[in-house]
Symmetry: C2
Subunit: 422 residues, 2 copies
């Protein structure tokens, strides 16, 4: 299967998103409509909504977070797109990427020319503990959830294994957070648009205002080691090793390659797509990589006919800092172990590094509305490849080839896609 | 879109199912494995599981019923099919049909040759009231659920509108139940394998055993009018107007047309597929038909190049008796109103009628594990078209063209598919 080609080329011709953050008063359908309106505005030569033929929506937990199942049809209704087919997909945090992949397949099949695909999630209706439990249903209920595992614990298990096997340090992980905050700080749509330094200064100013002892941090690492301000969540992962909890929606406009120029002069073409499944943590041969990432990447590389060295930038799944470390080795950008673990600290994955990773700020800083995040990733590569990323535009590089890498749960689903600007 | 063709032909080469019923101790993944094993055994020339390239699984409520999200990947894991792509689809009671449609599209796209697709549902972990509430999340939470609507109420609204507009009677609806029980009674895999007469006799025998007054019913209609034995659920729908609550899984093997004969000498070919979305009940122009059914049917008919008169038999969505009445007019088999409402009473939809409908016993009698039901429908047409339906085989008819019609919720999703045996 991995060597197969799609029967027909597909391009991304538009991208839209709602705000990412804590959005009281907005349901999934409201946020999806915001994203769809933003998408319509993004299409350079205009989009008549009547031309949209299908809607694929990823969503992980609206069943629990807002008592609404089958969210796609309500998104379609609210966006005034009834009666087009609407499909709701739940592949945990990879839901939007699976939705988009199925939209791509729909066009490749000849059934559709123009497809809307993305995702939505409303996560802040419950207190953090409740949201953590809803998320835990994405892990294996039989062997993981009922044993007390939640996602910080699952990723902490991988982080400790990485530390044990390769000597990876908490500081290596903190460097990933620092780098992603540096990117997110200049992303106007990020949920946390601040560098770690700016956050330190805010905390210090707040302490000063309240007449409390002002923490004497000098470096970002000082702050990140502070047990009060950056508490341990699941050892070795602290608060700033974890992405935030986010409401939001994002979607892309997929069109057949042969009509892409009707929508924009600068479409980005989907040249590779891969998807793989993985087992629960205890059933794997390794805890320091995600096998499904490697398999999905191999499929995408083979379909696109390119290799890791050809990819200019990538948005990878950094729900926790350790996830980015594993991703950049699983995708073949860095060697497993020390090379991947120290890439952020050594500046290799910075915007001006050899392989810019998560120029958007990543899930860590841009936000992680779980069902929507895969679509948000494509948004960043769409803008970078078209030279529209503003202050975040990577310097000294023509971003003609890019990748998105979206992990569902702890690697039970992975979708990797490769995009080309011709 | 409706006139498009698939880029590549697709056939059904196998079918499997778990038991349908109350299955304590079996999780979704267990039932799915039962269905997959049954499917492997059904493939005439054998199936090497290693040849399966993707798994699409419909499921509506495992999030709530067994605290397990993203069920497809766990079904894939338990069936020992990791690392193939696994996609979980929630389109309410049409989930399996949407899963299967996406499997079809996957093959048509050229990405896959062999796809497993179906659905699973575990509904009996909660008491009936709880299950009714979980199901209600498939309706519109904003305008329907929070107003107190559950599915019996939504379909009762359509039934009363039908009675008001066309003079349809409760007896017309009861005739649908009688007919479907006549079919289900000779279906060894049905959850309720009894005619209404047999059920009457069981109830009378039980009363006799317990020394209680023995009901003096003479006809099936006497029983169906008994407020004690067939109580009102939501006027005018009584208990026997409603399908049961069911645990179960079902799946089909989809293969590319050009390799179908490698699996069986009698594949059935998918010649038409349609999918449409509909609005919440209050937003519709009509309460006596399901617009999305008409739209999806038109797409499927146009793709297959056939019309209602050409279809020999159909499995249609009879979650409530009124649903079958609307379906057989929406699909063009009978005129809306009296013609459709009286079709069962007049024997037109019986196994030996002019248009046999729900020869399996339908959801009403075979059972309705909501996320799996669409796959179960294909099972029946698969067996009927291959002459394997045993006592249920329709007489005096070569079933070379058949249809499945699967409704999600109260018509917010409808999938219609047409199959041909060549």
């Amino acid at each position: 299967m991995s060597k197969r080609k799609l029967g027909r080329g597909v391009a991304v011709a538009g991208y839209g998103m709602s705000k990412f953050g804590v959005l009281p008063g907005l349901d999934c359908r409201d946020m999806f409509v915001d994203a769809f309106k933003d998408l319509v505005n993004s299409v350079d030569k205009g989009l008549d909504p009547k031309d949209v033929e299908a809607n694929y929506v990823g969503c992980c937990g609206a069943w629990n977070w807002e008592a609404q199942a089958g969210i796609a049809k309500w998104c379609t209704d609210w966006a005034n797109l009834v009666p087009i087919p609407s499909t709701t997909i739940d592949n945990a945090c990879a839901s939007a990427s699976v939705a988009i992949r199925n939209g791509i397949i729909g066009i490749a099949s000849g059934l559709y020319d123009v497809v809307l695909a993305g995702g939505v999630e409303k996560m802040t209706t419950l207190p953090t503990e409740g949201t953590t439990l809803v998320l835990a249903t994405g892990a294996d209920k039989t062997w993981e959830c009922y044993a007390g595992y939640t996602f910080p614990g699952l990723y902490a298990t991988m982080a400790t294994a990485h530390m044990n096997e390769y000597g990876t340090t908490p500081e290596d992980l903190m460097a990933v957070a620092i780098k992603n905050h540096n990117n997110g700080a200049i992303n106007p749509v990020a949920q946390m648009p601040n560098t770690i330094t700016q956050i330190m200064e805010q905390r210090q100013a707040r302490a000063r205002e309240k007449g409390k002892p002002v923490p004497g941090w000098v470096t970002e690492m000082d702050f990140l080691h502070d047990d009060q301000y950056n508490p341990m969540v699941a050892w070795p992962l602290r608060l700033f090793d974890c992405c935030p909890i986010t409401d939001g929606a994002a979607c892309v406009l997929l069109v057949a390659e042969d009509i892409a120029k009707n929508f924009t002069d600068t479409p980005i073409y989907v040249t590779g797509t891969g998807q793989a499944s993985g087992r629960a943590l205890h059933s794997r041969d390794t805890l320091t990589s995600i096998p499904a990432s490697q398999i999905a990447a191999k499929q995408a590389y083979e379909m696109a006919g390119v290799g890791p060295a050809d990819i200019k930038i990538a948005e990878v799944h950094d729900c926790f800092t350790i996830a980015e470390v594993m991703a950049i080795s699983d995708l073949g950008f860095f060697k497993p172990g020390k090379d991947a673990a120290t890439a952020a600290a050594e500046g290799k994955t910075a915007r001006d590094g050899i392989k810019p990773i998560n120029t958007s700020g990543g899930l860590k800083c841009k936000g992680h509305p779980v069902g929507a995040s895969g679509a948000g990733m494509i948004g960043e590569v769409f803008h970078q490849m078209r030279g529209e990323a503003g202050a975040r535009q990577v310097p000294n590089m023509d971003v003609n080839l890019a990748m998105t890498h979206n992990v569902g749960a702890h690697g039970t689903t992975v979708v990797v896609q490769i995009y080309e600007r011709r």
